[in-house]
Symmetry: D2
Subunit: 301 residues, 4 copies
């Protein structure tokens, strides 16, 4: 194991932290950078090498994983004054696991390619829990010949590593999935609320939907109505899970992609606006299934 | 089998015809009525008794099934000049399998109860194929003590007979399911269309959605994109299946129920309007998954 | 003036009360009925005749105005056990100023016609203030030959009496106007909010909209942004004006009419859902322009 | 007049062409550039100076107007390889009349400022007709002290030149106006269509709306229903006017601005999607009031 070459890791936040630890568990020495030095402490104490810029990471590692909150942060990490591209080595493999606009991924890939290196987008699905247990799903876009190399690293952090096609398609797959998720979650919340108001027992209604054509992940695995399922955020006052703010962010990306490709997304667009309003009405830190609570009449009165 | 008492059947249309035949197969003599005499011919030739009004059905049978297209037709069959209520016998069991407004079901139930008889609403899910093969799902609302009696008959026509609660809840369950179905179908169509435009292969995208949180019946069992699945309407130019007009009708019922119970249904309402527009734009007889075709850019040019 | 024949008035609520008083001012003796006897007291003390049912009103007056909150109340007043139709005289003129479903107006008109009397729908636009000052607008549907007779009475209570066509078109005109009003109010609130967040001064933005193609009654006469105009509800914490609940009710009527005529109303339907949600979130008694406050980020936190 | 210093003009398309001509009429010598040399011919023949890049324009003129179709074109004209910024003189006044993302305007302003020059955004409202007759409205964002200088030139091309605030607010004002316009146009189309289906005469309904609270520019100045008004696109099979594609583009900018400022635009977003669909269904070259035709039942069958 000692013979493994080091892997660079940029962005040690809520998600990056446990992901990097899983790489360590698999014996990869790490070269670490985060804009917040505190985020690196834990790794330094564990003996990993902390450097002072993305460029320095690129100098010391030819495989780098980036895990950043927004498109702007990703562009900064790659193309900024002390970005990866300043010192990237030819043949390096750069994997971006941030969830960002697919057109930004494509842009970054072009710049990386000019330097003789390889860029892949590999956003994740699954939250902090899946990051800890190494059960993330990675949706990977990029040159197919490099997929095996990416898989070697991503497989340490996730149980599903799916090849999606050219650069940007990893982001595209994630965005499309999350848009459909948001739509079916709001739809489930509306249908459950309407049914309850029409006199149906929520557990029974869920059971009927789940054996019928209304069945979806939001109804059978993550039901938003308190009392219907155990072990989901709706059973715990919508704590934990996937925050409304994050869903609003992903729907913003879907909206941008739809606008730039001129694709009509009537429900997706409305779902975006609904999560946008929820963020403004005190739901930003609650799980996104709290839309049931938001729609429920007289909830706050 | 010869000892079975006759069952009344009112409404022998596309759905009622095969349903009635399944009752015959199970040995029930039928008392038949339809506003269109031609619809009764086949049954007359098979030796069943055809009468000339719903009232006459009620005179000769104390268990009656009604299967009619709209609330208005149902009200006419029960409360009309020659309706069931004119001659219904005390203790009769009247089962309405029409899909109508739950508030109309409740109204009918009250009138039936005044006559000393029992009313249950039992709308079906599953189309003409399921009606033929006896594999419908019945969602049943009414007094629980009478459910076993209803089940005896409905079990001849369907493989699932679900008790939903008080009168009207059968309709409520169906309406909620179909509203969620419409939402997730349009959502699936939007997500697949956006993904394709972003460069994803449709089959691969469907596979990714189906192993992720975007999974729903519309994505994994009835995918709306031609070429993704076999044996579904999208593989056959959207012929067969569940027509756009019927979906628009059910969404109209959901809308009415939501308005009268003051339940917000943002996506449900927009889904209703989308199917309404499709009906006006030449999609009325196509399967409701043709919303993918409707959304697709430049489809008609 | 003493020679004027009495006019029946049924429904002396917030609107009916000042309307009836304006008839008195014009010298019409009144025959009064309200389900709440307290509502009649004031008129009794003023010397008007109070009776104990709509039927009694019909017995004593051959011109009757009804002003009731919902379709159900109107049906009860006309067709109920002690309804107008029980004792209506041939040739009577019955004017319903309630805002109800146009199809209910048509239904009532048919029943009234069978009794040899005349029914007109004449819903009002303008609130309690306009009712007091006699400045309501009446939108009148019914037989054109009777319009002059209706105008004689309605002209005492309103400054605009508009003939709209056959029975039901008064309601239709009101519903269409209010639907468009709701849409342009929400649109104004969205545009003003977006502009403010993009750095525009609200007063300046309103001025620009009002000299451009975005101009509408909601932007130039009833601007929803506090500080832009004086003398409107937004200048007074959204007190007074036209309540959110009433707008939600009218949009429910628009929704029902659209569903029954199969007319697509995409924005109208969404506007309905937005006002529905506002009612549930504590805005029910505020003026409908408070949608600006509802949309505004972080307003409640 | 001969003493006037030359003005640069970049972008001589449908709008730029007549705008430039109005500057000529007011005696300004022009320095002309367009990526399509043919667009310059007419001006060359009229004796104006044509150069071969935006940089060359900047070398010869210290007041420049740009009128380009998209953000990308504007960025290219300013920051491209041969862009204005390559040769811009200190103290130059650069006025961009393109309709683009306000955040791009701000970005350009920053770069221009670094070169010691001044940038203002001044998008126009009013179409080709207004451009020809010099009756455009300009909404101007930028440093207030420079507004008078901008007004001198813009006043030759428009009858309204409105100062909106800091850089980007010109775009913001235009985007907000057009979003509200799109919403009220669709709302008018929905209300007119519903009213017609409920039995109202279109001209009468328009009259009622226009004297009531539903009044808006789309109902009283640009009514979308054929036969209601003369001299508007709806009277001419929706030819001329403001194309659906252009409206969809502006709504895309509104959407982007709303997403980046996290402003909820529920109706704006749905309006965007509706115009997006219309573009795909054969309406792209029709005036945006053709949404009435799009919504109308059975229009194409």
């Amino acid at each position: 194991m000692a013979s493994k070459t080091p892997v660079g890791f940029i962005g040690l936040g809520n998600m990056g932290n446990p992901m990097a630890k899983n790489l360590m568990k698999h014996g990869y020495p790490l070269i670490i950078y985060d804009v917040f030095p505190d985020a690196c402490k834990e790794f330094q104490e564990a003996g990993e090498q902390v450097v002072s810029s993305p460029a320095d990471v690129a100098e010391k590692a030819d495989r780098i994983i980036t895990m950043l909150p927004t498109s702007i942060n990703a562009v900064e990490a790659y193309s900024g004054t002390n970005g990866i591209l300043k010192k990237v080595k030819k043949g390096s493999l750069l994997i971006d696991s941030s969830t960002i606009d697919p057109s930004v991924s494509k842009e970054l890939a072009k710049e990386v390619e000019k330097m003789g290196a390889v860029f892949m987008d590999a956003p994740v699905s699954g939250g902090v829990g899946a990051a800890r247990s190494g059960n993330l799903t990675f949706m990977v876009g990029g040159v197919e010949e490099e997929f095996a190399a990416a898989q070697e690293l991503l497989g340490c952090m996730g149980s599903n590593v799916v090849y999606c096609g050219a650069v940007g398609t990893g982001q595209a797959a994630k965005i499309c999935n999350n848009m459909l998720l948001a739509i079916s979650m709001i739809g489930t919340a509306e249908a459950m609320n309407l049914g309850i108001r029409l006199g149906l027992d929520p557990k029974l209604l869920a059971k009927i939907l789940n054996m019928s054509s209304g069945r979806c992940w939001s109804s059978d695995t993550y039901n938003p109505v308190p009392g219907v399922m155990d072990g989901v955020p709706s059973a715990n006052n919508y704590q934990g899970g996937f925050g409304t703010t994050l869903m609003a962010k992903d729907l913003g990306l879907a909206q941008d992609s739809a606008t730039s490709t001129k694709s009509p997304i009537l429900l997706g667009s409305l779902a975006h606006q609904i999560y946008r309003m929820m963020c403004a009405k005190g739901y930003s830190k609650k799980d996104f299934s709290s839309v049931f609570q938001f729609l429920r009449e007289e909830e706050n009165f």
